[in-house]
C-alpha cells in the first residue's frame, strides 16, 4: 500500500511537572495540511516525534519539510530523517548529511522506504546528531508483519503468524533524557560542550512522571501528546515496544509481571537455524540506539480492580525531576476487569 507521510522539522517548548519549560527541536505531523498552512506549524514540534506505523510491503513516501526554528531564527540548520535499523539502506535515503543530503530551511525532501522486516525501529534527525537527537528530533517507528490482521488474534502479532508474538494491546516505552543546561544554552544561542552532558530529566514517550500517567488532552502538554499509561484487561497479552534514543543505558523494571523478550533491535531472538532464543526478564536493560519488544500477561486480581503495577527505571536516580523525586521514568500498568475497556485501535491508546 502506498503511504504518504509529511513531517515538519521545527522547534518548540516542552514542560516538566516541576513547572519548568525546555526548548526543543522536533518533528510534527503535517500530513494532508494545505501548503499555505504548513507555516502555522512553526514552533509546534512534538516530543516524542509522531510514531510512524508502517507495514511490510508498504511503499512509504515520507516528505520532510524544514520550516525553520522561530525561537532561533538565526539557526538555519538543515534536518534529515534517519530510519535507524532499516536493512540494506542506500545512502540517499539514510539521512546522514556527511554521506548524502540534508533538507535546508524552506525545502522538502522525499525519503522512500519499502519495509521488508517487521519489528520496532526508531527514527531521528542525523544532522549534528549529538545536538539534534538530544534536542528532541526522535520518535518510534513500527513495522507490522505482512500478514498483520488486528481482527484475528492469531494474526495480531509483532513478528507474524506462528512466531509466538501475539498480543492484545501495545504500548511504546520510548526513552529519552534531557539536560536542561544544554537546552537552555541552545535556546540562548550559546555553544554547549557536549562532553559535559549530564541529564536532569528523564522521559518516557516525551513526558516525565506524573505527566506520564496524565490524560492525552492535558493542555499544558499539548506538544507532548503521548502519555505512557498502560491499560489492559486481566489475562491480556501486552506488547511493550521499548526504544532508547537517549545517550545513557536504562534499566526499566516492571513489578508484578514477567516480560518475555520477543524482539531485540527488530529481530526475533532466534539462532541461524531458527533456534528459539526467547527469554524472560523483569528488567529491560537497553542501550542508546537499541529497541526491545517484550510481552507480558496482565495478571488476575480477583476483586481488587483496577490493579496497578509500577514500571520505572531501576537506575533510580532517573526517577527524579532535577534531583527531586518522584518523577522521570516512572509510569503505571493498570489492569482492569475483562470487558471494561474498549479495544485498542492504535498503538499506545489507553
Amino acid at each position: 500500500m502506498r503511504v504518504d507521510i509529511r513531517l515538519a522539522a521545527t522547534d518548540g517548548w516542552v514542560d516538566t511537572p516541576d513547572g519548568r519549560s525546555h526548548y526543543i527541536f522536533g518533528f510534527v505531523n503535517i500530513t494532508g495540511v494545505p501548503e499555505n498552512e504548513i507555516f502555522n506549524y512553526r514552533g509546534k514540534a512534538e516530543l516524542m516525534a509522531p510514531p510512524l506505523v508502517l507495514q511490510v510491503g508498504d511503499e512509504v513516501y515520507l516528505t520532510l519539510t524544514n520550516v525553520g526554528t522561530p525561537t532561533r531564527p538565526d539557526l538555519d540548520d538543515p534536518h534529515t530523517i534517519h530510519y535507524h535499523g532499516f536493512p540494506n539502506q542506500m545512502a540517499i535515503y539514510d539521512g546522514v548529511p556527511e554521506a548524502s543530503v540534508a533538507v535546508p530551511v524552506g525545502r522538502d525532501f522525499v525519503f522512500h522506504y519499502k519495509p521488508l522486516d517487521p519489528g520496532t525501529y526508531m527514527y531521528h534527525c542525523h544532522h549534528e546528531p549529538v545536538e539534534h537527537i538530544q534536542m528532541g528530533m526522535v520518535g518510534p517507528l513500527v513495522v507490522r508483519p505482512r500478514d498483520y490482521d488486528p481482527a484475528d488474534p492469531d494474526y495480531k502479532t509483532a513478528y507474524g503468524y506462528g512466531t509466538g508474538t501475539e498480543y492484545d494491546r501495545e504500548y511504546f516505552i520510548f526513552l529519552h533524557e534531557l539536560d536542561c543546561t544544554i537546552h537552555n544554552l541552545v535556546a540562548t544561542v550559546q555553544e554547549p560542550d557536549w562532553t559535559n552532558y549530564k541529564p536532569t530529566y528523564w522521559f518516557i514517550n516525551g513526558r516525565s512522571y506524573p505527566d506520564t500517567i496524565a490524560s492525552t488532552s492535558a493542555c499544558r502538554l499539548r506538544q507532548q501528546p503521548w502519555p505512557a499509561l498502560i491499560k489492559a484487561h486481566a489475562g491480556e497479552k501486552v506488547l511493550l515496544r521499548f526504544v532508547n534514543l537517549g545517550f545513557q543505558q536504562h534499566a526499566i523494571e516492571l513489578l508484578g509481571a514477567v516480560m518475555k523478550v520477543v524482539g531485540l533491535d527488530a529481530m526475533r531472538p532466534a539462532g541461524l537455524y531458527g533456534e528459539d532464543l526467547f527469554y524472560n526478564k523483569n528488567i529491560i536493560y537497553i542501550a542508546p540506539g537499541q529497541s526491545t519488544d517484550a510481552i507480558f500477561t496482565a495478571p488476575e486480581a480477583e476483586d481488587t480492580y483496577p490493579l496497578t503495577l509500577p514500571l520505572y527505571n531501576r537506575n533510580l536516580i532517573k526517577n527524579t525531576l532535577a534531583g527531586m523525586g518522584p518523577g522521570g521514568m516512572i509510569t503505571e500498568v493498570q489492569i482492569f476487569e475483562p470487558g471494561t475497556l474498549p479495544p485498542q485501535t492504535e498503538p499506545n491508546q489507553s
Binding site: 513516501y61 538543515p78 534517519h82 535507524h84 535499523g85 536493512p87 540494506n88 539502506q89 542506500m90 545512502a91 540517499i92 539514510d94 546522514v96 548529511p97 556527511e98 554521506a99 548524502s100 543530503v101 540534508a102 533538507v103 535546508p104 525545502r107 522538502d108 525532501f109 522525499v110 525519503f111 522512500h112 519499502k114 542525523h126 544532522h127 549534528e128 546528531p129 549529538v130 545536538e131 537527537i133 538530544q134 554547549p192 560542550d193 557536549w194 562532553t195 559535559n196 552532558y197 545517550f247 545513557q248 543505558q249 531485540l264 533491535d265 527488530a266 529481530m267 531472538p269 532466534a270 539462532g271 541461524l272 537455524y273 533456534e275 532464543l277 542501550a287 542508546p288 540506539g289 537499541q290
Partner: protein
Amino acid sequence: MPTVNLWATDGYISTPDGKSIYIWGFTDQEGGSARLPGPTIIVKQEAPITETVVTVNLTNNLKEPVSLLFPGQENVKANGQPVQPQYENDILVSLTNHALPGETITYTFTAASPGTFLYESGTNPFKQLQMGLYGAIIVRPCDYTPHDSQYKTAYGAGTDTEFNREYLLITGEIDPDFHQAVEYGQPYEAYKPRYWTINGRCAGDTMLPDNVPHLPNQPCSSMIMMEPGEKVLIRYAGAGVENHPLHPHGNHTRLVGLDGRLLRNQNGGGTTDLSYKRFTVLTGAGQTYDQIYTWTGLGYNPVTNPIPTTLPNLRNMAIGHLGWTMWSGSPYLGQKGELPPDVVSYNQAGEYHLMLHSHAEPEITNWGAFPGGMMTMIAVYPSGTLAPHQGMLPTEAY
C-alpha cells in the same frame, strides 16, 4: 611457536582538533615510540591436539612497573610460573606479575580458543590502561586458509563464520587532563573523557588509511571497505573503561562470538546456534564481539530500476555543510553526479558511505565538537572496484 617482543614506553598521539596527547603504550620496535593501540598479535592455532603456546617478552621502558594481562587465554605463566597477583605489604600492587623499570618479563599462554581478545596492563590498571597500555590478539582456527572460502572463518570450518574481509575496531576513551597530569607527575582524581577513539584515532582520522605519515603512533585505520554481498567480519574490542553502543548503518550485524568464544552450544549431540542479530551492540569494557555484516542493497539502478522519487535541484538540498562530503552526487552505487562547487568530495568510485558510530552521541565529538570521536564509515564499493588487499589482515602477525 609464536614469540612476540613488546616494549612498554611513552609517546604522543594527535587528535583531529590539533591536540597532542602524551600516552603510554606498547611498541614492537626496540627504541620505538608507544603506539595506540599496541601492535595487534595474530596467531594461528596449531593442529587440534597440539597446544598453541604464545610467548610474549615484555621489556619495561617506563618509570614504574608494567605487566600484561591476557584475559580469556589459558595457562598464563610469567617466567615459567603461573601468574599471580602481586602484593607489597599486603596491598595489591598488580593483578599479575610485572616487570620493574628496565626489566624484561616473559609471559606464555595457551591460545585455546579462536576469536578476538585483548592484552592490557594489569599494574595500576586504572592509570595504565587509560594511558594506552592495551592491544588486541586475534587467534585464528587451526584450519584457517585465507584462499579457501570454506576455511576462511573466524571459528573454524562448519561454524557458520565464513568471511570475505575482516576489520578490527578497538574502542577507547581519553581524558586529556588525566594524560597531562601523568606527563607532569601531578595527582589527578576526577575522570572525564573528552575524546573517544577507535583504533587509537578520533574521527575524522578514523577514516584515513593505515600508516599515514602524520599519525606515526596511530597506524591503524578503522575505515571498513567492502563490496555488496560480501561477508565482513567486524571484531569489536572494548579496550576502555566504559560501554559504547556501536551502531552500524545499513544493516544489522550477526554476533557469532563473544569474548573469543563461539556462540554455539552442544546440545544432545547436535548443535544449537546461539548467534543473534542486532543493530546496536553495547560494546562493554574489556569485552569482544565478533560479528558478520553484509550489505546487498535495494537493487536500484539508473536504467532499469530508478529510485522512486525525484531529487530536488542541487541548490534545494544541503550538501557538504562541513565543506566536504563522502557522497558521490548520485543516488546510485558506482555512479557520480553533480556536487556544489564549494564542496570537496572524498568519494572515490561512487561508493556508499554508511556511518558506524557510538549512539551515545556525545562520544562522536572531539571535546564537544561534532563530527569526531568514535565514528567511522562502512564504505560499500561497486562490485569489482575495491582493491583486494582491503580488509585482509595477515594470517599471522607477531
